[in-house]
Structure formats: C-alpha cells, structure tokens
C-alpha cells in the first residue's frame, strides 16, 4: 500500500507550464531621486532603493521596437476596437515588488513591497526625501513608527509586523546594489505557459520625481479592498489589471524597459526540459523611455 502511495507521488503530468526564476537588473538611475534641502533650497541626488517602483516582468512571444509606443515593447495582437489598447497575449508574468496598502489613505497606491524595512523607514522616506509627511486618516501628521504600527494593528486586527506585506525587515528588501552600482533582485514567474523561443521582458514604473509627489501610473486607487471604517470611504488601491496585457498604456517617459536585444529568449525544447534545467534567467531593464526623443 505504501509503495503504491509513493508511486502515486511520482506521476509527472508533463504540464506545459513552468516556474521561471531569475535575477532582474535595473540601472542606478531608477533608484536615484532629486532631493531639495528645505533649509538652503539646494537640490542634490540620492540613491535609494525606496525610490524603485514595481518591476513588472512578463513572458511574451517576442519583443519588438514598437512603432506605436516608440520604445521596445512585446508584440501585440490585432487591434479590434481602436478605443481599446492592443493586447500582447502574454504567456505569464510576475513582479519584483507590488503595491500594498500601508494603513493610511495618504499612502494609497504609493507603497511597494520589498522597499521598506519598517514603519520608521517609511515615515523617514516621506518626511525627509519626498517632503510629504504621512498623515493618518484623521489628518494628523504621523511622526512615530510605533503610532503607525498601532494604526496598522488596529485596522487589520493583527499582532505582528510580519503580517504587513510591505514591511520587509532588514533582510527582506528586494533590491541590492551590485558591483556595477546597479540594482538586482530575484524574481519568479509562477506557472508560466511555456513556448520554445519565448522572450522575457520587463519594465520599471518610475515614480513622479517632483517634491511632495510620489505617484505611480501602474496603480489604480479605485481598485482593491474598501475602507469603510467609521466615516472612511476609499479603496486601498492595487496594480492595474492589464499591466502584462497592455503595458504600453502605462509606460511613460522616465520609465525603464528591457531593450529588444536584451530580452532573454528561452530556447529549451519544452517545459519538461526547462524544469529540468531550472535556469536562473538574467533580465536587464536599462532602456530609458523617452531617450529615443533626444536622439
């Protein structure tokens, strides 16, 4: 009986899908942000992984220099309705960092997982760099990490920081600086449909760079769980639905995408061969959108 049971566990369905793992590299510029010294008015630049927006990575049939968008972009299917964006029909995808709700309406669509170690780390970023101090839902400025922790625990009825997805701790941040001064993070594309010759392609949503503003085009503040605590009436916000299918609709000047020649092609014969090889795919996202306009 035990032998039969153990044999049952070895059944291979030969599914045409695989978990794809890799390392994504983004340029130092994606972590660089201008900062104004409020006392002197002087502007300088800081390099900080907290400035890195969500990195969206997909598996596509191919990557081309898009005539419509003017930058590298996955191939798209037919345009059926001119009022709707074309669809890339991706095979799968994932992210390195996603939007998470950090307990206050002030932070809707602004906080990405894998970027902040704890509450104080987030509050410092907003007060010292963004110059947009966090306020709670009553409009009071939040100056203490403990106060913010209390707000989160009360709202979500939790008892530990690990239950807040956006808190990474000192060892859980997504991106680390490499020898070239760029930044790297691990990524996984779970259960991706495999097709020999498919390409991986990704992009970084860079936040707005002006003082007092930290906005992302990939987040929809009208989606996500609703907050109806007392007189509150707002949504937590979450990533837009079509980031993989219609990325060109959300990519703007200042964002970074994978260049046509840099998109890795997966050439294993089938999903079984890919699973057996279990490669660590290297994906480089270094093409600055908008740079083509400067040529």
């Amino acid at each position: 009986m035990l032998l039969l049971l153990s044999l049952g566990c070895s059944f291979d369905e030969h599914l045409n899908s695989a978990d794809i793992h890799g390392v994504v590299t983004i340029p130092r510029a994606a972590a660089t942000r201008p900062v104004t010294d409020l006392a002197t008015g002087e502007t300088s630049e800081i390099v900080d992984t907290r400035n890195i927006g969500p990195v969206i990575i997909g598996a596509y049939p191919s990557v081309v220099q898009s005539a419509e968008y003017g930058h590298p972009h996955p191939e798209v299917g037919p345009v059926i309705d001119p009022s709707l964006p074309p669809d890339t029909y991706p095979y799968g995808g994932g992210t390195a960092g996603r939007f998470d709700y950090a307990c206050y309406q002030h932070l809707v669509c602004q906080v990405v997982t894998g970027r902040f170690t704890d509450y104080d780390d987030l509050l410092d970023w907003y007060s010292d760099v963004i110059h947009d101090p966090v306020v709670d839902d009553d409009g009071n400025m939040v100056q203490s990490g403990d106060y913010m922790r209390q707000s989160c625990y009360e709202l979500f009825e939790i008892t530990a920081d690990y239950e807040m997805a956006w808190i990474s701790g000192d060892d859980g941040l997504d991106f680390t600086e490499n020898a070239d001064g760029d930044f790297e993070a691990d990524f996984s594309l779970w259960h991706t449909n495999y097709k020999q010759g498919m390409s991986l392609w990704g992009w970084v949503d860079t936040p707005s760079q002006t003082d007092g503003s930290f906005q992302f085009s990939t987040c929809d503040p009208t989606l996500g769980q609703q907050n109806n605590e007392y007189t509150n009436d707002y949504d937590y916000g979450t990533g837009r639905w079509t980031l993989l299918n219609s990325p060109g609709e959300f990519i703007g000047s200042g964002d970074f995408v994978t260049d046509v020649d840099a998109a890795p092609v997966l050439d294993w014969e089938d999903a079984d061969a890919l699973r057996e090889a279990d490669p660590t795919v290297e994906l480089n996202i270094s093409y600055l959108v908008g740079s083509e306009l400067e040529d």
């Binding site: 049939p61 191919s62 191939e75 037919p78 309705d81 097709k195």
Partner: protein, 353 residues
C-alpha cells in the same frame, strides 16, 4: 410491515413526479415566424433626419428556434467612417416586484407579467469575422489569433462591449430592456458590419419575440458618449432611465403597449397596473399614483374617463394615456403583503421603516 409504508409513499411520490415533462417550454416552430432570420442591410438614420428615425427602424418578430439551437436575427450595416449607434428593443417591459417586509418600494409593489417578456443580446463586429451563417445558423465573432510563435488564442471580435456594474465588459441588458452600442467604423469605412441579435429568451406566453432595431449615424461623435447622448436627445422632460423604451415604441404587438411604455418611462408602471385593476380613489395604488411626480407637474387621474394625465411643471399635459389593465401587468398575489396588513404598504408604513 410498517417499514414498507415509507417505501410505498416514496414509490408513489416518484411515480407522480414523472407527470411533469417541461415540454411546454420546448415549443415547435411557428409558421411565419422563423427562429433564425437574416434581415438584410440596415440603413443608418442620417444625422439630419433624426425626427423621422422610425422610418428607418425595423420592427420584426422571431419565433422559437429548433430545439437545442441558438435562435436570433442578423443584419448588416455599412461602416460610414464615423460612429454608428445600434439600438435593439425587445418586447416588452420587465421589473421585479418589491415584496420587502420593510421599505417596499411603492413603484414596484404590483408584479410584472413575467411570461410576456423576451430578451435579446446584441453583438456587433466586422461581417468578415462572423462565423455563423446568416439566416441558417447563429454564430459569434470568435476567431483564432496566431502569435509569432504559432500559439493560437481565440479572440472575440465583437465590438459591442457593454459594461457591468463593476465596469467589466461582457454585460447585457436584462429581459425586455433595450441594448445599445456605439461602433467606431473609422478603421473600416464602407465595410459591412454584422449586427447579431441573439434571442436569449422568447416570451413563454406565445414563443414569439417581437423587437425593434435601428441604427443611428452619429457622425464623428466619440464612441464613449455619443450613443448615450443620442438616446438622451429623445428623452422626454423629467423621464427616468426607463425612457430608453420610448425610442423605439410599441415593439410588442400588445394593445396599448406604447401607452404603457410612457408610464414606464416615468416610473409609474407598477402603480398604473395596481390602479387600473381597481380604478377608484379608495385604491391605495391610485392614491400613490396621484402623488407621483410625473413630468414635473404631478399626475391627474380621471376615473370617469379612465385616463391619467402626466403633467408638466406648467400644468399642461405631457401625455394622456388610458388607464386600462394591460397584458404587461401581472397577477397580484394578495398574500404577498399579508405581513403589512394591506394590499400595498401605506405611506406611514414605508416612511416609518
């Protein structure tokens, strides 16, 4: 012996259960009313001839389709290079009766006649993408897209996308309700578009689904709002969302239906039914009807002439319609309001809840 009695009861029960076949809901074909039909080409209403738009409308009737097959109508319309608004209005009018113990909506306490309504779901796409056979077999606009690696994906080339309450595509209007779509033909001027009108449901009372369909040339209006703006341009003053029924009136052959559509446009339909069933001032629903807003000037009920006047704000009559119990009104179930002690909730009961 006693143990066999339940078995005997069960056996008799099982036998009697077999006396209901449901075949009454599977009708035979009806001569003169095919279940699948091609209407030919529709002519869009020019922008400068909107006042005569009914001259362009098609009023048709579908019969039941052969068992196990999808029924419906198809028609073509040429792309103008601008935007077209296609409207279909199936018979008749449908609403849900309000039977709430508390807070019953007085406009909906009289039930609908649920077996006189049909439902048509509309899709529109380039005729070249239509995979049915007009007049023979109903299809859809699904075709296969093959990407550069040869992966095939089925795509619905239907351009008539309606949004649900959550803003997602794929919705349709319910039974008896008009559907409309704006189609941007700028990429394919002079090409034929196929209008597919699927008979989602035929009325159970006669299995004949009457409907009206019309196409309006919106010129270069934007697809997002042009169709709705066009519909609103036909909307009578102070009418509610039900005014869409008035665009293509009398799509049902039931006598007096056009009058009932007017009552529906002003949200009076349920009170109208209740009052018409017993047109006396003592009838609580007549009393409620007289308190309705109308076209801004209230409602005047003439019990002698059996008419109601829907009044404008200046006191003039916008519509005079006969107060006659019609086929659209359902059978009232007295028991439905036993819990509130009267045939309809009183104002006090409604307000106090």
């Amino acid at each position: 012996m006693n143990a066999r009695i339940p078995l005997l009861i069960l056996g008799v029960g099982a036998l009697t259960a077999c006396d209901r076949s449901g075949l009454q809901y599977v009708p035979d074909s009806i001569d003169g009313f095919p279940g699948i039909v091609h209407l030919g080409e529709l002519t869009p209403v020019p922008e400068d001839d909107r006042e005569n738009h009914l001259d362009y409308a098609r009023y048709e009737t579908l019969g039941p389709s052969p068992s196990g097959t999808q029924g419906g109508a198809t028609a073509t319309v040429k792309g103008t290079g601008g935007t077209l608004c296609v409207v279909v209005d199936p018979e008749a009018i449908s609403w849900n009766q309000s039977v709430a113990v508390q807070g019953a909506n007085k406009a909906y306490t009289w039930p609908d006649n649920a077996i006189d309504d049909g439902d048509i779901d509309m899709e529109i796409g380039l005729a070249g993408y239509y995979n049915g056979t007009p007049g023979v077999e109903i299809g859809d606009f699904e075709q296969v897209y093959e990407d550069s690696l040869g992966t095939e994906t089925a795509i619905a080339y239907n351009e008539c996308t309606m949004l649900d309450v959550n803003g997602r595509e794929g919705a349709h209007a319910g039974r008896g309700a008009p559907e409309y779509c704006a189609i941007d033909t700028s990429l394919h001027p002079d090409r034929s578009y196929m209008v597919l009108l699927e008979s989602f449901m035929v009325p159970l009372e006669d299995f004949k689904l009457s409907y009206a369909v019309n196409v309006y040339d919106l010129g270069d209006a934007t697809t997002a709002s042009g169709c709705l703006d066009m519909l609103d341009s036909y909307k009578p003053s102070n009418a509610g969302a039900g005014a869409a029924e008035l665009l293509l009136p009398q799509e049902s052959d039931a006598e007096g239906f056009a009058d009932f559509e007017v009552a529906y446009a002003y949200g009076l339909h349920s009170m109208y039914c209740g009052c018409a069933a017993d047109p006396t001032p003592e009838n609580a629903l007549c009393e409620k009807l007289e308190k309705a807003e109308g076209a801004g000037g209230g409602i005047a009920v003439d019990y002698g002439a059996a008419t109601i006047d829907i009044l404008k704000g200046n006191g003039n009559s916008a519509y005079t319609i006969p107060l006659v119990f019609q086929n659209q009104c359902g059978d009232y179930d007295e028991d439905a309001f036993d819990h509130v002690g009267s045939t309809v909730p009183t104002d006090e009961e409604e307000e106090g809840e």
